[in-house]
Amino acid sequence: MTEIFRRHEVLERLEGDEDLLRELVDLFLSQSWIQIGEMKAALAAGDAASVWHQAHSLKGAAAGLGAGALSFQAARLEKAGKEGDLEAVGALLQAVQEELSRFQQAVTS
């Protein structure tokens, strides 16, 4: 749940296809940073619904790439977004962003 990157597990799932993993990670990272930006804009605009949907998608994608900690934080963010708790959204968005940074460091190191 709280592991930053379960690389081995993901690679096994991809039958050891390192190239595919790299491609997926790149895709995931660019996608996720865009989502963070969109969620921030949504937060500033008070659009919790948008945060909810983006966080949901981020949660799933992160789980798929073995980013356990990120997926966990995204799930909390999704819940806050769904409940329209903008205060919590602000704090969790920060946490999600930090986890994403950690994941990025883990995959690139």
């Binding site: 991809l14 921030k40 008070g46 949660k59």
Partner: protein
Amino acid sequence: MVNPATPVSPRKVVVVNDDPVQLRLLAAILGKEGLQVGGAAGVPEALALMEQEGPPDLLVTDLHMPGIDGWRFCRLLRSAEYPAYRHIPILVVSATFAGVDAREITRDLGADAFLSLPCSAAELKAVVHSLLSGRTPTIRPRVLIVEDSPTLSRLLERTFRESGYQVRTALTGAEARHQWEDFSPELIILDYHLPDVAGDRLLQEFATGKTFPAIIMITTDTDPSLAMHFLRMGADAYLRKPFDPRYLVELSFKVRRERALLRVEDILEARTRELQESQARLRESEERYRLLVENIPGVVFTRQADGALAFYDAKIEALTGYPQEDFHLGRRSWEDLILPEDREPALLPALPAGQPRVREYRIRTRSGEVRWIQERSQLLSEPEGQPLTVQGILFDITERKRQEEERLKLDKLEALGILAGGIAHDFNNLLTALVGNVTLVSLTPGLPAAAQQSLAAAEQACLRAQGLAQQLLTFAKGGTPVKQATGVAPLLNEALTLALAGSSSRAHVHLAPDLWAADVDPGQIRQALQDILINAHQAMPGGGLITITADNLRLTADAGLPLAPGPYVRVAISDQGPGIDPALLGKIFDPYFTTKSGGSGLGLATAFSILQKHGGYLTASSTPGEGATFTLYLPAVLTAAAHRPPAPAAPTSGPPGGRLLLLEDDPQVADVARRMLEHLGYQVECVPEGGQALTAYRQAQTRGSPFDAVILDLTVPGGMGGKEAVEKLRELDPRVVAIVTSGYAEDPILTHYERYGFRGVLKKPYRVQEMANLLRRVLHRDEAAPA
């Protein structure tokens, strides 16, 4: 993508997933299997793709998607609307929806398999191949056959198994109950006649159970009312023996399908309701947030440092005059509005993220107006290589800044005022001694004419010194104006006469007709006008034209001036001088600020201070090269200008003599005052302090020779002064005749002496004649007034 080893045309798969990573992952794995993969980010896109490419051999879809989700997609594909797609196997994948429930719902939806993500490539491939080969579907419905005839039971078991069911059988009611618990069948074929329990009894138990299975009753009984009985008890269908087992399977399929549709309807309804509710909650919370944003007296913003992404709330338009979209579309950058001299260097020192930052700067709005902004923001922590994002609020602090500057100016004035007041006080004491002695000497009989002349000149000089002290005091804080309805025209005329006497400048005066009267202290305003006029003509050493206009003005609260709403007389005084450097405009009202050699620097500061104390205002504007304009705002009264009736003239003669008590702490002043009073024929007793004055007054009363009047100095450093002394004296003798004297000529007590219990005022420095007149008046009035 196509596996070269595959000889036939590749099988087609359409993958629907709104997450690009998942989409890519699924497509990559399936592509490696030699399948021709079409990807779609949503249902409409997938339908379009299928329309264009023809029905695929397999469909892989996500459940949660914006717009049409996986649930609705499955229903669509299995509905009569799309007969061409009805038999395409569907694999549902979901990262967030897992478990038995997901499987059942998927099956009910008409999908063929379910995979919970993340899954391994091997798992995915196995399911896909199984679906493509048309082999046993991954999901096999469970059927329980309760039939006491072993032959029929076996026959049905075989038929159902062939149709892809998982089958259990029970020959008795007891066995059926056990299987029901253990197997959780989705379908029950129930015989009415059982050896141990009545079939309808079991029907009741199963129909009300939690798993909510579909139930088909079978019976040999021909009673038609039995069918109704079964259906009422919760059976889904009823079949009379004998029947073709394949027909039962067909019926089962229909029943289950109906069940599934009902259930899916329920799910869809629940999901729709949930969505609506959460959207309502969201709207509420968004409304709250929107109200919060709207009510924040500032503009809420988020922007990337590179300007690629920016959001400003709607108030940005009111602040800048530019439309909100301009900032969002990147057509306008906030930084560009900041005055160049207020911008920060491009390379910001790296501030730790999350640390709040406050910046104040000026912006130029669309209309060219300059506004002060306070930006409270914080940098969001972004990983290396990501654009920096700043979030915060912009406050318009123009008004606060102006007030701050005003306050600063006033603070400066106040500090100087106190100093000036102190100096003027000492100065007046010295002048009192000087003037007093000079007048006393001049009263000496048989003085040579030359000496008389010198003494007159000395007295003149003293009077001029007194004028200067007066100016200092007017400027000082204590100079409370004594307001009265005053005509502006006569004031201007007097000021012009005094200021422009002997100068080569001329004045044009344009007064609006029906000009209101100003509610001002005429002496002080005359001085302010005079100071401004002197300044104007000094700006034109070679002479020139001074234009004066005056008009009526009714100010509202939003006039942008630091003035209360109400009527004002506005007087504008313009010169043709070189103008004032914009950089110096803010300083010209500072005390001791002067650009003129030999200027005192007090003139404009005094004028400003006078206007302030009147509840009016003085501003300066200038276009360099075209002269300067000073505008005075004088509070107006709407009644016609009128002068107060002059104070009744004091009697110039009367019986002198009497006993006086003088409270004066300065020995020089006390000495000269005593001699002046004695010269006038009074007996004088001097005391340096209020307490001693009380003692002397009481003793005199006891002796039976009370004082006729007391003269009290207002300020006695370190002791009881005149204000307190007069209160105590009035306790001793309510009829005490007290005169107040002070070097603080503008002290409010001197202005409103009667309120404090005094009968008269003697401003320092005083001359013999003034003293004589005052004493005669107060003593005479006292005699005239009934006790």
